[in-house]
């Protein structure tokens, strides 16, 4: 996969419109995903759900295997399995299971089981890397529709429930006293997370989805003064990281998904430095 960008550019040299097409699709995919990962990533930080995000994302590999085995669309398979995983973890945690242990077992168990299951599906092992690390340069117009559709749905869901989600995040008791059911709000976030996982698989891959949730939001935290500012900033930083990573991938022939996460990490370092200087 590391040479994919180069190969594509070589094959299509001279046909600039096609070059533009796949690059524009990749850029649009990154921006579309960032719309959802910004605000959702902020909630992942506020509620300390980073490992929960990891577990849900790793389960996506199992979803890919199931989808390929049953000829269902891959995003649907990942959505279903990610959702099942998220609900399982949430309900075990609420029954008093140690969250760390539960996540440790389920996250890696699901990833390993997914990898084993995929090896049984004929002819897939060659493209396994694409599911682990993403394949943003190969985004098709229909992928793009899925990514934007899913992201906008998550964004709409979060905006609709924003005040209730924020209150429930602050304090379950405060929420209950105002007639908000904190369990329902948590379920909404769980659903949003599963949707984002299904959508992000193509862009950054199962191993790095949680990174695209956590890192831009953490960078935004260093600068923001309010929850809304942090969410919007996280989206902007996520989009910027996608574009920077894409450029890096294109010119230095690096894998796209990890390049985007690297760019996000660099932005985080700058933001943390800036935040520290401003406070000093």
């Amino acid at each position: 996969m590391t040479t994919r960008a180069t190969i594509m550019i070589t094959t299509i040299r001279g046909t600039t419109t096609m070059l533009d097409d796949f690059l524009i699709r990749a850029g649009l995919a990154g921006i579309g995903l960032s719309l959802a990962t910004g605000p959702l990533g902020a909630f992942v930080l506020w509620r300390r759900m980073a490992y929960f995000g990891d577990a849900t994302a790793h389960a996506a590999i199992l979803g890919v295997a199931l989808a390929l085995a049953t000829d269902l669309p891959v995003p649907l398979g990942t959505l279903v399995v990610a959702l099942a995983m998220a609900v399982t973890v949430a309900s075990l945690a609420s029954k008093g299971w140690a969250v760390d242990t539960t996540l440790g077992v389920l996250a890696h168990g699901a990833l390993a089981l997914g990898l084993v299951a995929i090896s049984f599906v004929h002819g897939v092992h060659t493209s396994l890397e694409a599911y682990l690390f993403g394949d943003i340069l190969a985004v098709t117009p229909s992928d793009l529709a899925t990514i934007w559709g899913g992201s906008l749905a998550v964004l709409a869901l979060l905006i609709w429930r924003w005040q209730a989600l924020l209150t429930a995040t602050l304090s379950a008791d405060l929420a209950r006293a105002d007639g908000i059911n904190p369990d329902r709000e948590r379920l909404i976030l769980t659903l949003a997370l599963a949707l984002v996982v299904a959508v992000a698989l193509k862009v950054v891959g199962a191993l790095l989805i949680a990174a695209m949730l956590v890192i831009p939001a953490a960078a935004a935290r260093a600068i923001a003064r309010g929850p809304e500012g942090m969410a919007v900033l996280a989206s902007a930083i996520g989009a910027l990281a996608c574009l920077l990573g894409l450029s890096l991938s294109l010119w230095q022939d690096t894998p796209a998904g990890p390049s985007m996460v690297t760019a996000a990490t660099a932005i985080f370092a700058l933001a943390a430095l800036f935040g520290r200087i401003r406070r000093a």
Binding site: W46, R48, L170, D173, R176, D178, R221, P227
Partner: protein
């Protein structure tokens, strides 16, 4: 009656936390629920607020009664940036004017743009009170509102509660585990240990044998309370009864001379 609980029973995880508790709050009245840790005080508040299911009995509220709730604590994750002004708009958005009014009422006029995470415990309690006041509640419900405050902070907070009651005419229902600090601020005290042990004015309750039995034995019971208030160890209430301060009867108002004792 603003609020009336009739024979309410609450079971949590198979344990009967409240057994047939009946109580009520009148308009403009300050009622304090008193009891040791684990006696079901917070559960009683949550039950009358409708936050835990009842295994028996019922809670009736005056028609159109609005509640203002101040939780025991607010643990905000440091990753969440939140100004005081923004906090006041959760979950219902309020105008700048309403927010400024509420902040002025709790003596935090200039705090709007401060980060919640940067506030002291006493300031945070005031901000939570301001937020509870925003809906013009007929009844304020406070769950151990002074936990973690030092003694002057506690006194100042209860003065503020009394003032809010005077200004707004709201009833107040709150929880405490220390009679002496709430004595001045309460009209009525309900002594709770899964059921109601005794009830009445603070003076009556502090003299009641049921109250003595709950917090310690004989004069040592009052001593335990005294000691408890003095060293601010809020974990155990009854254990201090065994300390070697025998011979002093501290069953009176200590204000003014307790700082150099013990």
């Amino acid at each position: 009656m603003l609020l009336q609980a009739q024979d309410i029973t609450v079971r949590l995880g198979g344990v009967e936390v409240l057994s047939r508790v009946s109580m009520g709050v009148e308009a403009g009245e300050i009622v304090t629920v008193l009891g040791p840790n684990g006696s079901g005080k917070s559960t009683l508040l949550r039950a009358v607020l409708g936050m835990v299911p009842l295994a028996g009995g019922q809670v009736t509220r005056a028609a159109g009664l609005r509640l203002g709730y101040v939780p025991q604590k607010l643990a905000i994750d440091p990753s969440l940036p939140l100004t005081v002004r923004r906090f006041l708009s959760l979950p219902h958005r309020v105008s700048d004017e309403e927010a400024a009014d509420a902040l002025a009422r709790v003596g935090m006029d200039a705090a709007g743009q401060r980060q919640i995470a940067a506030l002291s415990g006493g300031q945070l309690q005031r901000i939570m009170l301001a937020r509870a006041l925003l809906g013009n509640p007929g009844l304020l419900v406070l769950d151990e509102p002074t936990q973690g405050l030092d003694q002057p902070g506690e006194a100042a907070f209860y003065t503020l509660i009394a003032q809010v009651r005077r200004d707004t005419g709201a009833g107040v229902l709150m929880v405490s585990h220390d009679l002496h600090v709430v004595m001045a601020a309460s009209d009525r005290v309900i002594c709770l240990n899964h059921h109601i042990c005794c009830e009445g004015t603070p003076r009556v309750v502090s003299a009641a044998p049921e109250y003595r039995a709950l917090f310690g034995l004989g004069t040592q019971g009052a001593l335990a309370l005294y000691q408890h208030r003095h060293d601010h160890s809020h974990d155990e209430t009854a254990d201090h009864g065994a300390h070697d301060h025998t011979g002093h009867d501290h069953d009176h108002d200590h204000t003014g001379h307790h700082h150099h004792v013990g």
